[in-house]
Amino acid sequence: MIFEAILLTVITAATPLVIAAFGELVTERAGVLNLGVEGMMIMGAVGAFAAAQATGSPYIGLLAGIATGAVFSLLFGFLTLTLVTNQVATGLALTILGLGASGMLGESYVGIPGIKVPQIYIPYLSDIPFIGPVLFHQDLVFYLSIALVIGINWFLFKSRRGLKLRAIGDNHSSAHALGIDVIRTRYLAVMFGGACAGLAGAQLSLVYTPQWVENMAAGRGWIALALVVFASWRPWRVLAGGYLFGAVSIGQLHAQAFGIGIPSQFLSMLPYAATIVVLIIISHNRRTTLINTPASLGKAFVPDR
């Protein structure tokens, strides 16, 4: 039973990381490096919380989270794609603005009890021992995250549009010469990344800890960015990495609850330290990272007309 309970908390902790990282994976596959995940996530969290409070419906909250993330990411899209600003700096600006704006918008929601997204009971399947509660008695966001993995994997590697998107990420000039609309695809990819980050934020404020706390993303957006590198831009590895990090951050909480003799601050460092260690292991082999990195990642594109 304890194992089951731990597994459930790991899933809840991993879901926002997986969703945000998937969004960023698609954005980066299109050649755009958006470092604003943390900002989009926290905006999604506050947007979702506010909408759920206003309507009383957690599902409208989720939709609002997605919309907030997507609209907020347009700001980044306009700057980097239309005005060709530096992507790294613009992403940082998005995070700084998101942290400030979300704190301002959310000020009146501090301390208000949140509305939780209910778990969905599936007849028969939810009753299977162990597998039932873990896999079939979850909230909608968990199912969405699984659908995203399957859907995105298919989209990127089996569909024509996915092939075009990857082509743009690998060589935007050639893609442009072939008549693919680079800017439009990149706008859509950025917005998709924003929508995913928004949903991930909504999961935080409507599922994980159903309340609004300032800075509640607590670096998860950055961990999601690290996950994309960890996964070397492959969807299934994002899923595996997300669950690994979910396990690390939950393991840290359980260790604190068991009263292990290590100060809680050091246990809290674990997810961040683990991120660094994983990055080292993945980046160590220069050749494998170079093969998988989208070749025009982070490079500005100005069409010659």
Partner: protein, 365 residues
């Protein structure tokens, strides 16, 4: 409607100067819209935010206090960014610098000597540099993304400070509050001009750092190396410059300056260690660096502007009752506008209303 960019044949000198000013104006416009949406009188709010803090001597001192860490950190970051090394963990290097410099006044509090303060400053700078050496080592030898590692280290540094303050370094006479013991008088950074306000020597360090780095970038081979490697690693390699050595150089320099800022802030302004020692100076310094065009002299000016947003935020909180988060929003907006206005330096912007019109126009000719 479409926006098209047309590359300028030459970089526009005019816009190089105008664009930061334009960004400031646009930020003020966006800010007044924001205040109006919040139901405040925009003119009064902007006045309280950006003008009133400049009208009194003591608050000019406060401005210098807040500008000092921003300028110190941003000057270091400008060398990093110019050389294409993305250190965004200055907040962590600031924290570790503050901790390393505080070893003397907290652990060896019985040792009284005029040497204490200089040693503290040196140790702070070394602490910051050592902490910045971690992402540098990882980037130089394992090809690890320095953006992510330096940022993860910020969280680790803050947790480490929290642990110190709640554990070994907690003041035994502090009524169980998470603060360290107060620094002895000889461990406190002195004020520059005590009769009129609190501004301390950190501001002088900041100005000195800006001038020295400006000189280095402008007149020395090292500065040339930074720029060449930043623009093209390949070209730099042909010139015999090592990008690996540049990673070390830029990270150690920026880490040392951030660490110096950290210990100066703790010793000059706060007087002890506590869990929160920075209102995000390390991140705001990124904006300062860009607003100052990655030029140390420009950074000195932009550091004062960003310091004003902190000061104005505090003042506006009291006088017109807006949240202190408005500060962060202003800072974010400013960075956005700076980046977008910089486009004007390299490109002409044309708004094309309709594609069809252009085509028919050509046919008519």
């Amino acid at each position: 409607m479409r926006i098209e960019l047309e590359k300028r044949p030459q970089v526009s000198k005019l816009f190089g100067f105008v664009s930061p000013l334009l960004a400031l104006v646009l930020t003020l416009v966006a800010g007044s819209i924001m205040f109006a949406l919040l139901g405040k009188d925009p003119v009064g709010a902007l006045n309280a935010f950006f003008v009133e803090p400049l009208l009194e001597i003591w608050s000019l001192h406060e401005l210098a206090i807040k500008a000092a860490p921003l300028i110190l950190i941003a000057v270091g970051l400008s060398v990093c960014y110019r050389s294409n090394n993305w250190n965004i963990g200055a907040e962590g290097q600031f924290t570790i610098g503050a901790i390393a410099g505080s070893i003397l006044p907290i652990v060896f509090y019985d040792w009284h000597s005029p040497l204490v303060l200089p040693l503290m400053l040196i140790m702070g700078a070394i602490g910051g540099a050592l902490f910045a050496a971690i992402p540098a080592l990882l980037k130089a030898h394992f090809n690890t993304n320095e953006i992510l590692t330096s940022l993860m280290l910020v969280y680790i540094a803050q947790l480490f400070l929290d642990w110190l303050i709640r554990g070994a370094w907690r003041d035994p006479k502090g009524f169980n509050f998470p603060v360290s013991r107060d620094f002895a008088p000889e461990a406190v950074l002195p004020a520059i001009w005590e009769e009129s306000g609190r501004a301390h020597w950190a501001f002088i360090f900041a100005i000195l750092a800006a001038i020295l780095v400006w000189f280095m970038m402008r007149y020395t081979l090292k500065g040339f190396e930074v720029v060449v490697l930043g623009q093209s690693e390949r070209a730099g390699r042909f010139a015999g410059f090592s990008s690996r050595r540049m990673i070390w150089f830029s990270f150690l320099l920026s880490g040392a300056l951030a660490g110096l800022a950290g210990i100066s802030e703790v010793s000059g302004s706060i007087g002890h260690l506590q869990p929160a020692i920075s209102p995000g100076y390390g991140f705001t310094a990124i904006i300062v660096a860009f607003l100052g065009r990655l030029n140390p002299l420009g950074i000195t000016a932009s550091g004062l502007v960003l310091a004003l947003t902190y000061l104005g935020g505090e003042a506006a909180q009291l006088s017109i009752g807006v949240s202190d988060k408005v500060t962060r929003v202003f800072q974010g907006l400013l960075l956005f506008f700076v980046l977008s206005c910089d486009t004007l330096i390299f490109y002409r912007i044309r708004i094309v209303w309709s594609r069809v019109q252009v085509v028919t126009g050509k046919v008519a000719q």
